[in-house]
Amino acid sequence: MKSLKEEFLEILSNYQGILHKVNLVYFKNESDREDNFQEITYQLWKSYPNLKNKDSIGSWIYSVSINTSISRIKRESRIHYRDEIPELPDKSNIIDEISKNESLQLLLNAIYNLNGIDKSIMLLYLEEKSYSEIANIIGISKSNVGVRINRAKELLKQNINTLNHGEY
């Protein structure tokens, strides 16, 4: 029988893409993303024993990842003592992959310019989450989700146009 930690690590391994994507929209710097990945992992592990509904693992991971990232973005502006991150073998850099795709690069740059809330809503929209799932993760009503997505999409389009015309 698997221990709780083994069970958790297996889930984390299967869903780690969510952590990477949340990191990508919130942090530009590679070392900040690594720090935040570790922090999210720890927060997920801390709350894992309280996870009652194992059918909504994805939503739980999104919630913890978004809340953890938001609580850390403020720290970027001050002197930051980095946590020690264990040396891991070099993996393909996600940014290298993105730089090969101009449209994706443009989209990501436009997302960076959104505020913390709109970033998370746009991420969930881009991940094709249903309104009801987004409502659960963000804690707002379904109708509100629709309003917010439309508004965020408009802002994103404006950002893309600005970036396209090099006006920033």
Partner: protein
């Protein structure tokens, strides 16, 4: 946009279970150290102070004012230690596994209570009281005079006033720094919460 976004999946790095385990273990150790170190230092300092107060009070049983000074100091220190530990635990025990809006509400409530609540300005009163009582307790004991005699000595009074002023300045500076950082954090969370509520 959703189609473009899907391309990102090709670039997502995959960490192995062993690597994830290594990250988790190292983070758990760091967090435990961050939490335990300041807590252990505070507890040790308070215990040392209480032992010192007990010993010096026993040695000065004939000086009632000195004993009252030490008792007051001991009592305030013990209460401050416990309430400080509770606040610290609440601030550290950040529960992220809830909807964003709920999480923001909890954090804002906790920080507001701490920074702008009824007892938020208590430190303005407590720091000088604690500092003065501590300085008096040490100074009177090592001067080998009674409490009243020390207060009647001009040099002692000058030393106490200058020492207290310097100490208070340093303490206030440190507390203000911490509060300023927490206030910025509170403003940031309030701003995000406002944005969530201003959808319509």
């Amino acid at each position: 946009m959703q189609k473009i976004w899907k391309n990102i999946n090709a670039g997502i790095p995959q960490k192995s279970i062993e690597e994830l385990n290594l990250l988790l273990t190292s983070k758990t150790k760091q967090t435990l150290n961050k939490f335990l170190l300041p807590m252990s230092i505070s507890i040790l300092v308070c215990i040392a102070l209480i032992i010192y107060l007990t010993i010096t009070s026993l040695n000065r049983q004939d000086d009632l004012i000195y004993i009252i000074n030490n008792l007051t100091l001991g009592l305030i220190t013990t209460i401050a230690l416990f309430s400080g530990m509770i606040s610290w635990y609440k601030l550290q025990n950040n529960r992220y596994n809830q909807p964003l809006k709920e999480w923001l509400e909890v954090r804002i409530h906790l920080l507001s209570k701490w920074l702008t609540g009824k007892q938020s300005k208590l430190y303005v009163l407590l720091i000088p009281i604690l500092y003065t009582l501590t300085v008096l307790s040490i100074h009177v004991y090592f001067e080998n005079k009674t409490f009243i005699e020390v207060l009647n000595t001009k040099e002692s009074i000058i030393g106490l006033v200058v020492g207290t002023l310097i100490g208070l300045f340093v303490s206030y500076f440190a507390v203000r720094k911490i509060r300023k950082y927490q206030m910025l954090k509170l403003e940031f969370l309030n701003d995000l919460y406002g944005r969530l509520n201003n959808a319509r």
